[in-house]
Point group: C2
Chain length 152, copies 2
């Protein structure tokens, strides 16, 4: 029942490209630009944000290619959609295994944590509701250490 937190890994950039290649997709400049941008981000980004950031390095990138690349990365489970009260269009580098998100309400910085222990709750809710529970979402919102300091 270890609780561990960790940030999205910038170094998985090459893994993503390998994975795209292995899945039969060609490695192109637009795809590299999107992968680069998302893999380097500490926080979830939506299509337009990725477009704007990536164009700083690769100005001819089209927004359509951002959408198309996101679609493929999501299918390959290299990225995942982040749900948020203000919207659910943003994506962040995915994690293998059973992980939950912890999101800063001020700067958006995201970390993953594991080690929930909800089996007893599953059982009780299943018993009382008659539902067969298959999946769960758990997400924490708060203020990261940097934003807490900045507030003072």
């Amino acid at each position: 029942m270890a609780t561990k937190t960790s940030s999205p890994c910038p170094e998985n950039k090459q893994d993503w490209l390998d994975c795209l290649k292995a899945s039969g997709y060609r490695l192109t400049s637009p795809r590299r630009a999107v992968v680069e941008t998302l893999a380097n981000s500490q926080r979830a980004l939506n299509a337009t944000e990725i477009y704007d950031l990536a164009r700083e390095q690769y100005p001819s990138l089209g927004l359509v290619s951002v959408y198309r690349t996101l679609e493929k990365l999501e299918q390959l489970e290299l990225i995942q959609r982040v749900h948020h009260p203000d919207g659910c269009q943003a994506f962040i580098a995915g994690f293998t295994g059973h992980q939950h998100l912890l999101i800063c309400q001020s700067c958006g910085k995201a970390e993953f944590f594991e080690g929930d222990n909800l089996e007893m709750l599953f059982e009780r809710v299943a018993q009382e509701s008659g539902y067969q529970i298959q999946e769960h979402w758990l997400q924490f919102f708060g203020f990261c250490s940097k934003c807490r300091t900045d507030k003072d």
Copy 2:
């Protein structure tokens, strides 16, 4: 630490109208139609679904009024938005107090449960991440007893 599950209450229809009235809004046929439709639903509905259902009884209802009524009901916390892998535009009757959703992956039927006990997890994650945790989302997905039976 009681775990209790319960369905959205159809009988709060009148409460919603009273609440709208008390907040200075007029009681109109379009609003009644939207309230009626949502209060009677066991599952979360989006604007278009509400529009289609409500028009069976009140054909002159406009989609714009559905959006406007949803906005007010959400502000008054009579309904809440339901996040789902397939989309986050649906609303369901809200519950007072600290409640979490349990959603059927087959028919969409939703129930609320309470009684999570995540304080220890909060503390551990806060300690290890440095975040000050403010809020959490917990949602279960599964198959309701009816859909489990129907599968056989």
